[in-house]
Symmetry: C2
């Protein structure tokens, strides 16, 4: 059983405060912060409807801000505090950004209870193509594979 420290409680409360402020400002009820060496390096909330951007979840916004701040695409050594368990999109982004740890408060079940699709998307992602609600159609192409091979053979590529 993980023993939660006082500073961690303090940080999660900051994310929760952002989620409340977000509602007041016409955004979705989610907030997130990113912390490095015990300092907050980014704060964000959900502005899907405000910005007409379905990817503008609090965690995605916080990651983008933190990367801008540190001038890198790699957030190793950083931790994210989010008012709600990340959805699959945000969890994916957290892996790509290589964050060290995720702290969250509300769960995906809590999100479902107030009308958010997180649980549904978690289920869909685990299914094979043919069983998903969105149709997935593969159009194989030698051309596409060739591009991958060119990337693979490129000497000066930046891995991420």
């Amino acid at each position: 059983m993980y023993k939660i420290q006082e500073k961690e409680k303090k940080f999660i409360l900051k994310a929760i405060k952002l989620s409340r402020k977000s509602i007041e400002n016409g955004g979705g009820p989610f907030g997130a912060i990113i912390v490095k060496d015990n300092k907050i390096i980014s704060k964000a909330s959900n502005n899907v409807t405000k910005n007409n951007d379905p990817t503008a979840h609090a965690e995605i916004n916080a990651i983008r801000e933190a990367c801008k701040f540190l001038n890198t695409f790699d957030l190793s050594g950083c931790e994210i505090y989010t008012s709600c368990e990340p959805c699959p999109m945000c969890l994916g982004a957290i892996y790509w950004a290589r964050l060290d740890k995720i702290y969250f408060s509300n769960t995906k079940k809590d999100a479902k209870n107030i009308g958010f699709d997180d649980s549904f998307i978690y289920k869909e992602i685990a299914l094979i193509h043919s069983e998903r609600k969105i149709q997935n159609i593969q159009i194989s192409s030698n051309e596409a594979i060739k591009v991958f091979n060119e990337w693979n053979e490129k000497k000066d590529k930046i891995r991420y």
Copy 2:
């Protein structure tokens, strides 16, 4: 078995062309387009390393552009063509954006073969918290639940 139409082959080739162009311009080997009523409404490639943004996958960029173009966060009635099967982050974004259909060429296995983490992230997302490589810590809070309840009771909220 889905019978692929000529126009679909044409569209996937556009996405593949963008993936090649992306390498030439110093981006990752991925391209995507979004189509509505047989017209391309957005084109994008991967610029994670160019923009220091780990969320800047081709599909995410294409969704953001299409939403800007149509002035909405809801892409119902649109289809995405992507040079490679979407990673979990992008698949999540596709669900949130409510796209109708996904066409792809290379698979997540092909992506793995050239060093991309898609398959790993798919596996991680399906695991329970305690089994994931990134530590997930819940800090329950009445305050967080209160914010969700406030959202739920808000009469003028915009659902998404």
